[in-house]
């Protein structure tokens, strides 16, 4: 029973992975970028848990910078994805321009908050 469960899980993951492999490369790049941002945020949270939250604004700006850019990247991914008919008329270049602009504004605020 247990054996069959682990095998099922393996099968499930393999199926998921093969399904994901079909994803276009540009979306994969965005996913990688989101992963990168989330992990950086996690490392900062771990650091905060170890040494305390002083200076709290620095911690917040570090984590929010990562989380914010991840959220923006997710938004970019939604807009770039061809499967999403909602954004059919939106050129991916325009989405990228939005992404860059939002990132710049976000980091201006982050830098101000960094202290």
């Amino acid at each position: 029973m247990a054996r069959s469960t682990s095998k099922d899980a393996q099968d499930l993951f393999r199926a998921l992975w093969s399904a994901y492999s079909a994803t276009p490369t540009n979306l994969k790049i965005i996913d990688l970028y989101v992963m990168y941002a989330v992990f950086t945020a996690l490392i900062q949270v771990v650091y905060m848990a170890m040494v305390g939250s002083f200076p709290f604004n620095s911690f917040l700006s570090g984590v929010l910078s990562c989380v914010g850019t991840a959220v923006l990247a997710v938004c970019l991914r939604i807009q770039v994805n061809k499967e999403n008919k909602e954004f059919k008329d939106l050129a991916p270049e325009r989405a990228f321009a939005d992404f860059v602009l939002c990132n710049l504004v976000l980091h201006l605020v982050i830098m101000n908050f960094l202290g």
Partner: protein, 698 residues
Amino acid sequence: MLLLPRMSSNLARLLLLLLFAFSICDAVALPGPISDRHRSAALELFAPQHGSFASLEESYEALRIFEILAVREKPDVRATTCPKVLENLVSSTPLKDLFYALKVNGILKCKVNGDIFKDIASRLKATVKDAKTLVDLYYSIGSLLLIKDQASDVDVLLADADGTFHSIKALSQSDGKWRYTDKPESSTYAAGLALEALAGVITLASSEIDQSRVNLVKNDILKLFDSIEKYDDGTFYFDEKLVGGHEHQGSISTTSSVVRGVFAFAAVTSGKINLPGDKILGLAKFFLGIGIPGDAKDLFNQIESLALLESNRISIPLILSLPASVYSLSNKDKLKVRVNTVLGSAAPPLTVKLVRAFSTVAKDSAVIQNKDLKYDQNSGHHVLDVLPDEVDVGIYVFVFEMVLHDADGEKVYATGGQIHVPIYVTGIVKVSNAEIAVLDNDLGSIETQKTLDLAGNDIVSLSANHLQKFRFSFQLTTPRGHAFKPHQAFLKLKHETKYEHIFVVGNAGKKFEIVLDFLGLVEKFYYLSGRYDIELTVGDAVMENSFLRPLGHLELDLPEAPTSKAPRLPPLAVDPYTRYGPKAEITHLFRTPEKRPPTQLSLIFLSLTLLPLIGFLVGLLRLGVNLRNFPSSAAPATYAILFHLGIAAVLVLYVLFWLKLDLFTTLKTTALLGVFLLFVGHRILSHLATTSAKLKSA
């Protein structure tokens, strides 16, 4: 019953003191005649430097003062001063120096050749003839006068004395003042100089001056005395109001100049100048009232004027002084009065009468009337043997009068009429029947009662609660058996926490009594139960046995403060002397820095944050990312590069903002960069879009 907090009780004490000070100001203590203190002051102020004085003028002033005061240990300056005198006499020096050289010679009697005097005399006579200014006339006539005294064989008589007299008189003003020159500014000081010069002219005149002219000058003197200034205590003096071209003269030198001039003039003219004796006495009072001046010139003017007053022809002031103004009834002090001339020599035979004496409290009822003081030959004092029974402790004004034995004496001497002198009569006030009691409030029945001997060291200890009363009474009796009300009669209750309450003890006749009803005082005592120390203060300037003593203590049981309106304890009065002590040290509070993690750990995590980036790059490589889509033609490639550079520039700017720039600079620069970025971004992205659209359509 009156409750005074500490502040207002202090104020009350101050007021009492002020009242007391005002009450004795009615009569002013009399200045005594010249004493030894003046002699030592003269030696101190006129101390020669290196065996001689700074100038001939100072030498003359010093020598003259030593002569008047008959100072025995005077410095010998003869050896150093005589050469100076000779030098000034031989050479043609300014008139002022010549004048003082002759004055010094008059005292020191240096050896001067008779021919020198003759030379000077002829020179001076020429000067007198041509002189236009008052000062020149004053010095030259003064010098001639001095030569007359020092060398009798020299002819110093003025041929045209009438003319000289007239030229001096021509400078006089209608108000008795004189002008220095033709200029209209007149001066009192100049009047003194002019009168002295006129006196000199009269002495030096070869023929007698017309009496009518002399009388005119006498009138001027009377007019001059109309402008005399006055203090309320009968002091008269002259003051210079107008400061003309000449240096300003103070009231001492102005008065002194007038005194010199008037008495010199009176000495050489026949007939009397009708100056009132009280003005002459007032001038004497002025000079004596100065005390001992700190300035050599003032001292000289004071002493010389007093010497002239001592022996003037108009009227000689007599000074009444008292060795003491405080008399003790317990010591049976005798009232002593002394009468002297201004320089302290004995007065002519006279009787001092005590016209009346009255208390400053009851000014209308005299305690003594018309008593003659007995003259004690040995001590030179006029003595009142026993103070009569009517004189009790207190502050009195004694009114004296001098009656000269010689009936004609009134014309020669100025006694000043009735003289008011403040006298303090002190004594031991008897304190008796002191009683301290705690009473029950409603019935008034006595709970505890103790008698005290306030003269001894009796101490009581009592206890009371807020429903009871505290009563304290005592009697004050003067040595003559009268009631006595001191300036201060205070009862002080002091709690162990240093809070104190001061009560004024009121009196009815001899009996002083204070009743404290604790029910009404609970709030004023701040509901503080516990031990109160009792202290009694009885004090007065005329009470020889003023005291401040503890009476014991009172254990007071007061109710708890109602929580709703519990009065806050006021801050304790600060000892005023602590204000001048060192201040408490100020310790500054700094924020303690937060605990920071070890640097190593932070660096490890810094490198850890780079790991995802490496993972991201590795992931990109694994995905086979390439830059094939990068535009190959020149213009779009440039735009692409510029676009990336623009983003990099903005990010670098952000880093700079974090490190050192402020928000405004950053925003301005960002706006510029943003426009640039917008432009190149639009170019490259639209280029990419068109290429991908072409690919699709193709």
